[in-house]
């Protein structure tokens, strides 16, 4: 049952990804891309990463689609005949080759949630790994039950501060470019 669901999810994600690439109408492409993001967010859930799933659903499927749609509404929309773009056979071959190389690594990956997975080892040669440290100590040290939050804000707070700065700088750039008038959108 789970395998069938997962297979259906993968088929859904792959077909929406292909549709996003080949659809000529940008608005249709954005709509399919939102569906792709929603599928990916369910895959994150299956992979037991609810924090990432929540972000993907909100940012990927929600905000990104809206921002892309708003931008397209302000610019031209291609009205060429034909629903699909023409695909360059050489580019397709290159992408296919890359895909083959990437897929060939999949059998080497450990099973999802497998205890033998290298990333899930709490100790290596008797020494605590970062994962082991966070799992063993995060709650004792911070009193925070969601260790993802503990890592994000406490152990890797400097990175998070950098991320927030990037987001802040991005919007300052857009403000300078588009928000010139005293009241936005009013001359």
């Amino acid at each position: 049952m789970t395998v069938a669901l997962e297979l259906a999810l993968v088929v859904f994600v792959v077909s929406t990804a292909v549709a996003t690439a080949v659809l000529r109408d940008i608005v249709a492409s954005i709509a399919v891309f939102a569906a792709f993001s929603l599928g990916i967010s369910v895959i994150w859930l299956v992979l037991q990463a609810p924090d990432v799933a929540l972000t993907e659903a909100a940012v990927g499927a929600g905000i990104m689609s809206v921002l892309l749609l708003v931008t397209v509404a302000k610019t031209a929309r291609a009205s060429d005949e034909g629903a699909l773009v023409s695909v360059n056979p050489r580019a397709l071959a290159a992408v296919g080759l890359l895909l083959l190389v990437l897929v060939s690594t999949v059998p080497a990956l450990p099973e999802v949630g497998s205890e033998e997975a290298p990333a899930l080892q709490k100790t290596v040669d008797g020494e605590l790994t970062p994962y082991g440290y966070y799992v063993e100590e995060a709650y004792n040290e911070t009193g925070v039950e969601n260790s993802v939050t503990a890592v994000l804000v406490y152990y890797r707070g400097f990175d998070t501060f950098g991320e927030a700065t990037v987001v802040f700088s991005a919007v300052v750039g857009v403000l300078v470019a588009l928000g010139g008038s005293r009241r936005w959108g009013e001359e």
């Binding site: 924090d51 939050t149 804000v153 707070g157 987001v167 959108g185």
Partner: protein
């Protein structure tokens, strides 16, 4: 520019009903990030998405006027300043970056506070991006 707003009583009523719950959920995700999946980034995006939903129902221009862009800029600039103050403050107090246990609150509440600042930054930034992209520019 093409006309992009169509007034619909069904959409307006639905949004009127859903928006308070969505805002509450955004606050919950931000404040409850220590115990459950989520945090400032996710909660902030949910809050911004609520504002965008309101804009879809009632039109972007009235929403910009209602929210007031100075508030939006104040929210993300204030969040950034507060986050920066905590980051620099913990170093000035002799600790590591964001070593929030140096603050006069428990670590957990220190982390929650930072999550709230992140939420403010993300909510303000995403709302600004939406407002600017749809209403900014050359004042069409």
């Amino acid at each position: 520019m093409r006309r992009t707003y169509f007034e619909s009583p069904i959409v307006m009523t639905t949004v009127r009903l859903v928006a308070p719950f969505a805002l509450t959920y955004g606050a919950f995700v931000t404040l409850h990030g220590a115990e459950s999946p989520g945090g400032g980034f996710q909660g902030g995006v949910v809050v911004a998405a609520t504002v965008i939903t309101v804009a879809f129902a009632f039109g972007v221009r009235p929403t910009v006027d209602w929210v007031d862009e100075r508030v939006v800029v104040g929210v993300f600039a204030g969040g950034m300043l507060a986050f920066g103050a905590v980051t620099v403050g913990t170093v000035l107090l002799g600790g590591a970056v964001l070593q929030v246990d140096l603050l006069p609150v428990s670590i957990k509440y220190g982390i929650e506070a930072v999550e709230v600042f992140i939420g403010a930054i993300v909510a303000g930034v995403v709302t600004s991006l939406f407002f600017l992209l749809s209403e900014g520019g050359d004042g069409e």
